[in-house]
């Protein structure tokens, strides 16, 4: 009977834990470790050749996060499918929670202090949204996606957290949520003209939205448009970042020899501007090498997605890969003065525990998709669909 459930051990798709570890995409793990290793080296340099205060803590976080990643990876993909709406619901409740009671940090309400751990619900939402949307579209046929009524619930699923995050205010994360959600819509087969419509009305809404931006957000956009206008004020970061990158040249100034970074002309060199320091010390060659590593990771994400035989896994794979790509692109474009400074870190390299966790958890999901690629899941989500 199609609707019957298997207990563990009876499941024909059941794979023993040891076998799952063998199926784990170790090349991807190696790439992730390599990127994190570059991060450790840069943090060591940022502290003028010291493991304190950043590199060592980052290593410990990576160790914890890597274990978590593997645990998630070997967990059956169907478990994540079942948890998708629940985790979305939890993340949404927490986001409302920071609205009501949140600690003030960096001029924005972003954290819930749980005593032992500072939870950033917006980070949790980045993963949960991908899971929930993937779960939703997993249940729709191509024809279904053409029906506007069926598109309204997922649209609300994207807009609700985005609006909450924007209120915090965290423009960067809100854009990441919308873009990440948009990617799932796109992959699910939503018609192009609908995207064009949404994009067009979004552009039309810019003048209205401008009024709702906070002063510092307006400043970021204005200084982006003309950084030299205010070289000692808001434009300082971008200008100094470009000077650092440009002066690095083809081969860079050498490890721990970046004058802009080490004489503190470069702000936030351990977090948002870590790519700049890498570019200054290792030049174009170092920057392109890092970019190539990122490109490889993203390509792996695509390979995993295309080899996966269930829609949920495919959507999750491209969803998390795209979120990862957006981090990389926004951060690097930002430090090179291509887009405004929006406060997005460079994944796996920038110092910061929460982002490290988010990224490793999402890679855990990606690998889970990879390990369980051959499991077929019915649109209802509770059926292997074999009969």
């Amino acid at each position: 009977m199609a609707m019957s459930k298997y207990r563990i051990g009876e499941d024909p798709d059941y794979v023993p834990i040891g076998r799952r570890l063998l199926l784990l995409n170790w090349t991807l793990v190696l790439l992730i470790a390599a990127l994190s290793g570059i991060g450790f080296a840069m943090l060591y340099s940022a502290a003028n050749g010291s493991l304190q205060p950043w590199a060592e803590r980052q290593m410990m976080r990576f160790a914890v996060g890597a274990v978590l990643m593997i645990v998630i990876a070997v967990t059956d993909i169907r478990v994540w499918l079942k948890l998708a709406y629940f985790s979305y619901f939890v993340a949404l409740v927490l986001l409302v929670g920071v609205e009501i009671k949140g600690d003030i940090g960096m001029g924005a309400q972003r954290w819930i202090n749980l005593g032992f751990f500072q939870l950033q619900p917006s980070e949790l939402m980045k993963i949960s949204l991908v899971l929930a949307l993937a779960r939703y579209f997993h249940g729709l046929t191509v024809e279904d996606t053409g029906r506007i009524t069926l598109l309204i619930p997922p649209l609300l699923m994207v807009l609700a957290p985005a609006a909450l995050v924007l209120r915090q205010p965290d423009l960067g994360t809100a854009l990441l949520l919308i873009a990440g959600g948009g990617v799932i819509f796109w992959l699910a087969g939503v018609r192009m003209w609908k995207f064009a419509l949404i994009l067009g009305s979004a552009l039309a809404a810019i003048p209205i939205g401008w009024q709702f931006l906070r002063d510092y957000q307006k400043n970021r956009v204005l200084t982006f448009l003309n950084p030299e206008n205010d070289p000692l004020g808001a434009g300082y970061h971008i200008t100094q970042s470009k000077i650092a990158l440009g002066s690095g040249g083809l081969f860079g100034k050498g490890f721990m020899l970046g004058s802009q970074s080490h004489l503190n002309f470069l702000p936030e060199k351990q977090t948002d501007f870590i790519f700049t320091m890498l570019g200054e010390e290792f030049g174009l060659v170092g920057g392109l090498a890092l970019l190539a590593l990122y490109a490889l990771v993203i390509t792996y994400g695509y390979i995993i997605a295309l080899r996966c035989r269930n829609q949920f896994g495919r959507l999750v794979a491209i969803g998390v890969t795209s979120t990862f790509f957006l981090y990389v692109f926004i951060n690097i474009a930002m430090v090179m003065g291509l887009i405004p400074v929006v406060g997005v870190p460079l994944p796996l390299v920038s110092y910061g525990g929460t982002v490290m966790m988010t990224i490793l958890v999402s890679f855990g999901l990606l690998m889970s998709v990879s390990i369980h690629r051959d499991i077929r899941i019915s649109r209802q989500g509770n059926d292997d669909g074999r009969n």
Partner: protein, 638 residues
């Protein structure tokens, strides 16, 4: 059911590949941007990065030295030790200062000020705790260094005048640059930089200043110095060798020190070199170098004897009878009087309804030119001046260097005043009165001269050349020092015979019995001087005073109403070499008060000359041999 799934998968695959292609394009865009920044624009950003990290700092050059004509140091640069504290290098600023207070006295005020300064600055900026440490204090702090974390002893340079008050007026002093002295030269904006404010220090400031060196240092974003990258030492200022003879100068100061207010000049009549230039009372220029206290400044400014003023060039006095050579020479040159022509002095001369008195109440009787100078008869000059006229007298005065600046290399030289008819018309809008010529003929009334001008006049009478005084052995310009060409002064356009007559009469003043200066004569054979006394009145003697109490003696008058005592002379008589003038403000009689000082100075100048017979002019030092000695000093003291 599965066909539907494969629809989804085809759609998914197509769209995923499109998405992937889009990401590829964006990543390529990032790579292109990297190439643009790091390859195409790299040079520009490299320059900007260097501008960020490299800061150019000026190194103040050592100021040039000033020496006397024999190379004796008059203005030097002294090592100046100051102690500084760096907040970030000491665990507790207050505690460290308290320990220091026990080693060298600071006092609660200093501790409070330093704490305030420290709090205001960045933690790595050194704050000066105390200036001008003695060597002993430096040693004590050095020994206790382990207990004094964060304290730095730094050696700077400050100007020092070893002769102190002896040369204050000539050398002047240096002090911190004031707001209105800023020229845009960044050197002037360095903290602690000093420039010449008066005297030779001011006149030759640019030559003494030197050119700044630069130090390239790497700084971080807060401006903290990380390391020095490159250093280029500047050039120290030029050494200026003065014409002064330190020993004679000291003697002149000592000789004037008995007087309330006086000045003296000794110069070489052939080349115009000033050997001594003294003004009394004086002050210690060292007090200005590190900022003079308000109290000391006020006491200098309010002193009635004006110690800050260099009276030898800034003081103007009625020359009194020392002016008579000028009148007599004007008469001889114009052919209006002959040397032997006699005039009768009965003690006064009436002109219109005014009576002009001779200083001698009973009169001198018949006087020729020689006797008129020897006895300083006033009536003789009343008589001849009416014939000569004020304008001829004025022309001769200018020839002898009066009424105009001598051009000496000192600031604020006064030009004195030689009146003419035109001058009075233009300046006062009144016609010249005959009686005014009479008063001018005895160096009173409008006539004013500086002691330096009187010395120059005497030198010109003695040499017959239009000598001009100067203070440096070499020619000093802002660009450097060049050897002064053996300056040949033009001949005075005056007959030699007439000059000889005047000199002979001046000889009479000092070397003939009953000459007014006979008491002040030089008795050493071969060194005799010829001179002229002057006593210039500073108040009006009323008819009433003459009739009731008689003319009051100087002793009976308050200081500021007493006569100025003047004396000018040259020596030796036979072959003149030196000229000297002395003015004692309100000193009384010229021959009695100023004469002996002139005598002693001229005698001393000649004695020094013969003692230094071996030192020929060629052996005198020039600036090339006398480089600033700070480098040596460092070695000695370090």
């Amino acid at each position: 059911m599965w066909h539907r799934d494969s629809d989804r998968f085809r759609m998914f695959t197509r769209r995923a590949l499109m998405l992937g292609a889009g990401k590829g394009v964006l990543l390529t865009g990032l790579a292109a941007r990297m190439y643009y920044l790091q390859v195409l624009e790299s040079d520009r950003y490299r320059t900007l990065a260097d501008e960020n990290r490299i800061s150019h700092r000026l190194l103040p050059p050592p100021r040039g030295l000033v020496t006397d004509r024999f190379g004796e140091p008059l203005a030097i640069n002294r090592q100046n030790y100051h102690i500084m504290i760096v907040r970030e290098q000491t665990p507790d600023v207050r505690r460290t200062l308290e320990i220091l207070d026990q080693i060298i006295e600071l006092g609660p005020d200093t501790i409070e000020r330093v704490e305030r300064d420290v709090a205001r600055r960045r933690s790595f900026v050194p704050v000066t705790v105390r200036d001008n440490l003695t060597w002993d204090e430096v040693a004590r702090v050095g020994v206790n260094a382990p207990d004094l974390p964060g304290l730095i002893i730094d050696a700077g340079r400050s100007r020092d005048y070893p002769e102190g008050p002896h040369l204050a007026h000539t050398l002047g002093y240096v002090a911190a640059v004031s707001e209105k002295e800023l020229t845009g030269d960044p050197l002037l904006e360095l903290p602690g930089f000093t420039i010449g404010k008066s005297g030779v220090e001011k006149v030759y400031d640019l030559a003494l200043r030197g050119t700044a060196g630069t130090s390239q240092v790497e700084v971080n974003a807060l401006g903290r110095v990380i390391r020095e990258l490159e250093r280029e030492e500047g050039d120290s200022g030029n050494t200026v060798v003065m014409t002064l003879d330190l020993e004679l100068q000291r003697y002149a100061n000592q000789r004037l020190s008995d007087q309330e207010s006086a000045s003296a000049v000794v110069m070489d009549i052939h080349n115009g070199e000033v050997l001594a230039l003294a003004s009394h009372p004086t002050y210690d220029p060292n007090a200005f170098t590190n900022g003079i206290s308000h109290k000391l400044w006020n006491s200098l400014v309010n002193n009635p004897y004006a110690p800050l003023s260099n009276k030898a060039v800034n003081g103007t006095y009625a020359p009194g009878s020392t002016f008579k050579m000028c009148v007599a020479l004007a008469g001889l040159e114009a052919g209006i009087i002959s040397p032997n022509q006699k005039f009768f002095c009965n003690g006064y001369l009436d002109l219109g309804n005014a009576r002009f008195h001779c200083w001698k109440r009973g009169g001198h009787g018949w006087m020729n030119m020689h006797d008129s100078l020897k006895h300083s008869c006033d009536v003789y000059y009343y008589e001849i001046s009416q014939k000569i006229g004020i304008d001829r007298i004025a022309a001769m005065a200018h020839k002898l260097g009066l009424g105009e600046e001598t051009g000496i290399d000192l600031p604020n030289e006064r030009s004195g005043l030689i009146p003419t008819k035109d001058w009075k018309e233009i300046q006062l809008g009144k016609r010249w009165q005959g009686g005014e010529t009479l008063i001018a003929s005895i160096g009173q009334g409008y006539v004013l001269a500086t002691p330096l001008q009187l010395c120059t006049m005497t030198a010109r009478l003695a040499s017959g050349k239009a000598v001009k005084p100067h203070l440096t052995r070499d020619h000093v310009t802002p660009d450097g020092v060049s050897s002064r060409e053996a300056e040949e002064f033009p001949e005075l356009q005056v007959s030699r015979a007439n000059l000889a007559r005047i000199r002979d009469s001046m000889n009479g003043v000092t070397n003939e019995i009953r000459g007014t200066g006979y008491g002040a004569r030089i008795k050493t054979e071969g060194m005799e001087m010829a001179g002229k006394s002057g006593t210039s009145q500073v108040r009006r003697i009323t008819m009433r005073e003459r009739q009731t109490t008689g003319v009051l003696g100087n002793d009976e008058l308050p200081w500021k109403y007493r006569d100025h005592a003047l004396f000018v002379a040259f020596a030796p008589v036979d072959n003149p070499r030196y000229a000297c003038s002395v003015v004692v403000e309100h000193g009384g009689g010229g021959s009695g008060v100023a004469g002996p000082i002139v005598r002693d100075l001229l005698q001393k100048a000649q004695e020094l000359q013969s003692a230094r017979q071996g030192i020929s002019a060629a052996n005198l030092p020039n600036s090339a041999q006398l480089r600033p000695r700070t480098a040596q000093n460092n070695e000695n003291e370090g």
